[in-house]
């Protein structure tokens, strides 16, 4: 049928009608994705705000204006635990995973044997299901787990499960995620490293610069665009941490809120406690915060690119 229509176009149509036809086909081809994005991405922005102005629990209740936001402003669990943990997590995990990812990238960017194997081995933890990795971590960090067994052999005695203690649960998650995310960061940095022209290194070698000096004086500064890009992606990702807290600390972010993050708190309010109006308010505030962070980063550092 398409052929028949096309033939008719070639026989009878002028330039105008062909253009119209192309446009109509174009709209047709993007119609389903565009309808999808409007319905499930664009519309929910406004709808979230609308919901947040109602006392909406299982059913839509009365209009309450800014009440949900006022409640959130005075919500000590949100600020003292969820926000605090999320900020501590972000401030710690981002530098850790960036340093680890950069170190891995620099090493596997060298002319070494089994380079493909090493890259794959370092990258894979980022690809494995977070639920499975968290389960394995819980097992290894259990009170009688592999990690404590090794510590025992080294002369440190630690008899508690790392995820079950209020003081060690979040640091353990930070360590876990710095490890799993470093593979992704490594790939980003590899792309950035390969954009550095090789003659820069040749010049450094002629000048007799050592490996560390070359890295510090040449590689690291030349990676500037890469650093910005990786930092932006890492910060935005870290601010939205959910999986490990949900899997390890449960919906309440235990023990005693020590692993509660902002997104987990939102899940808890909206889905577990069925407070849709309040949950929507939390979502709007988190969105405003992440959006502001993104805009500030853009303004400060300009375009973020891999290379």
């Amino acid at each position: 049928m398409a052929v028949a229509v096309a033939k008719r176009r070639r026989v009878g149509g002028g330039l105008g009608s062909e253009r119209t036809r192309e446009a109509l086909v174009g709209y047709g081809f993007v119609a389903v994705p565009m309808a999808f994005f409007l319905l499930f991405f664009i519309f929910p922005i406004g709808y979230a705000f609308y919901i947040s102005r109602y006392d909406w629990q299982i059913f839509k209740g009365p209009f309450v204006g800014w009440d949900n936001y006022r409640t959130l402003y005075h919500d000590s669990v949100f600020w003292r635990h969820a926000v605090r943990n999320t900020l501590v997590y972000t401030a710690t995990v981002v530098p850790l995973q960036m340093a680890l990812g950069l170190a891995l990238a620099v090493v596997v960017n060298q002319a070494i044997r089994f380079r493909t194997f090493f890259r794959a081995a370092f990258y894979f933890p980022s690809l494995a299901a977070s639920a499975a990795v968290a389960a394995i971590a819980t097992y290894i960090l259990a009170s009688d787990g592999l990690f404590n067994t090794i510590l025992d052999h080294l002369g440190y005695h630690h008899n508690n499960a790392w995820f079950a203690q209020q003081s060690t649960a979040l640091p353990a998650i930070i360590g876990l995620n710095a490890w799993t995310t470093s593979g992704t960061i490594m790939i980003f940095y590899l792309a950035a490293l390969q954009a550095i022209p090789i003659d820069v290194y040749e010049a450094a070698a002629i000048d007799g610069a050592g490996a560390w000096r070359t890295f510090r004086k040449i590689t690291f500064p030349l990676l500037k665009p890469g650093h910005f890009f990786v930092a932006v992606v890492s910060i935005i990702g870290a601010l939205q941490m959910f999986d490990q807290s949900f899997l390890i600390g449960g919906a309440s972010g235990g023990p005693n809120y020590s692993t509660l993050t902002t997104v987990l708190y939102l899940y808890n309010q909206a889905i577990a406690n069925i407070k849709f109006g309040y949950g929507a308010a939390v979502g709007v505030v988190l969105f405003a915060f992440i959006f502001t962070v993104t805009v500030i980063q853009r303004l400060l550092f300009g375009k973020a690119e891999v290379a």
């Binding site: 398409a2 096309a6 192309e22 446009a23 109509l24 086909v25 174009g26 709209y27 081809f29 993007v30 389903v32 994705p33 999808f36 994005f37 499930f40 664009i42 929910p44 979230a48 090493v107 060298q110 002319a111 044997r113 380079r115 493909t116 890259r119 794959a120 370092f122 990258y123 894979f124 494995a128 299901a129 977070s130 639920a131 499975a132 389960a135 394995i136 971590a137 097992y139 009688d144 592999l146 980003f188 590899l190 792309a191 390969q194 290194y201 070698a205 007799g208 490996a211 890009f229 992606v233 949900f246 899997l247 449960g250 909206a270 849709f276 949950g279 969105f287 973020a304 690119e305 891999v306």
Partner: protein, 320 residues
């Protein structure tokens, strides 16, 4: 937000990840007396560290495999590298007692459906955005990319309520009565297409020379036929990247399944692991068996299609 602001797919890294042994890193100075021995020692140290770190990265996975073949008594009997008594009862329990066979099937259904619909919608849409001229095209594409700035937490409540109230009413008008979307249907519906897949397909179609379509035009082929017979066969690498990215992401996903899947019979593997973990805290062998079941398919896909995963990383950068 414009297209230029997005990170390019690091093709170089993709090739590098797949190709072995091409020397391209820092040039090591050679031919200077005395340097060679230092270099050799350095090389040995570097390899030692590399293998140590690789082993460190692999230990958690190897340890989970080892435990998945143990008896429960074995897991509390002190350290041993390998199981004292090899048994597959961990897998047997995971599959039969704790339903992970069912969960794996559910994960495969959701991941398969989302992957397929992304491939179809993103390739047709990507073709239109790359090749067909229509008023508002750039604005619409910017809108698509803009959706990457909208985090899931903002969408959580609105989408949940839409899936409870509106969508069932709409499909009821279309003749599908009493449909529910707080289940697998909802998980699939809200992931039918992503900006990332659309972006990857469009970028790839932009790199295909126009001559080929001109030839199709002379044959008086319509746009759909050009897409189907000319563009799609050339888009293999992009389709592979999108397919792998979507399958891996959906297979591993936790957030939306945690929100929408409430009936145990519809749980995916990650949700099954979460539920099992909170209910039977120290039954390690079946839990490790379930983790192996969750990881193994992705490991196999990774080993076979390594380089396509890198395109996925680039688009992970697009998120945010």
């Amino acid at each position: 937000m414009s297209t230029e602001e997005l990170p390019p797919v690091p093709r170089v890294a993709a090739e590098e990840l797949a190709l072995e042994g091409l020397a391209q890193g820092t040039a090591a100075p050679t031919g200077i007396p005395g340097r060679e021995r230092v270099e050799r020692i350095r090389t040995v140290v570097v390899y030692f560290i590399l293998f140590a770190v690789a082993l460190l990265f692999a230990i958690p996975f190897l340890w989970s495999v080892s435990t998945s073949f143990r008896t429960i008594a074995d897991t509390v009997a002190g350290f041993s590298l390998l199981p004292r008594h090899w048994t597959t009862s961990g897998y047997h329990e995971a599959f039969h007692t704790f339903n992970f066979g069912r969960y794996a099937l559910n994960s495969a259904i959701i991941a398969g459906a989302v992957t397929l619909s992304n491939l179809v919608l993103a390739s047709i849409g990507g073709y239109a955005f790359a090749r067909l001229k229509f008023p508002g095209r750039e604005v619409l594409f910017m809108l698509v990319l803009g959706t990457l700035m909208i985090p899931d937490q903002l969408r959580l409540v609105p989408i949940y309520l839409m899936l409870v109230n509106w969508i069932p009413a709409w499909v009821g008008h279309l003749g599908w009565h009493d449909a529910s979307f707080i289940n697998r249907n909802g998980v699939i519906l809200i992931q039918l297409v992503s900006a990332t897949s659309l972006f990857l397909m469009r970028q790839y179609f932009l790199t295909i020379p126009r001559d080929l379509e001109e030839a199709a035009k002379l044959d008086a082929a319509g746009y759909f036929k050009t897409y189907r017979k000319v563009m799609l066969p050339l888009a293999g690498p992009a389709l592979a990247a999108v397919g792998i990215l979507m399958f891996q992401g959906t297979w591993n996903a936790l957030f939306w399944p945690a929100v929408l899947l409430q009936d145990k019979s519809e749980f995916t593997i990650p949700i099954g692991i979460a539920a099992f973990h909170s209910a039977y805290l120290t039954m390690w062998p079946p839990l490790m068996a379930a983790s192996v079941i969750a990881i193994l398919p992705i490991l196999l896909i990774f080993v076979v299609f390594q380089r396509y995963f890198v395109a996925g990383v680039a688009s992970a950068g697009v998120k945010g």
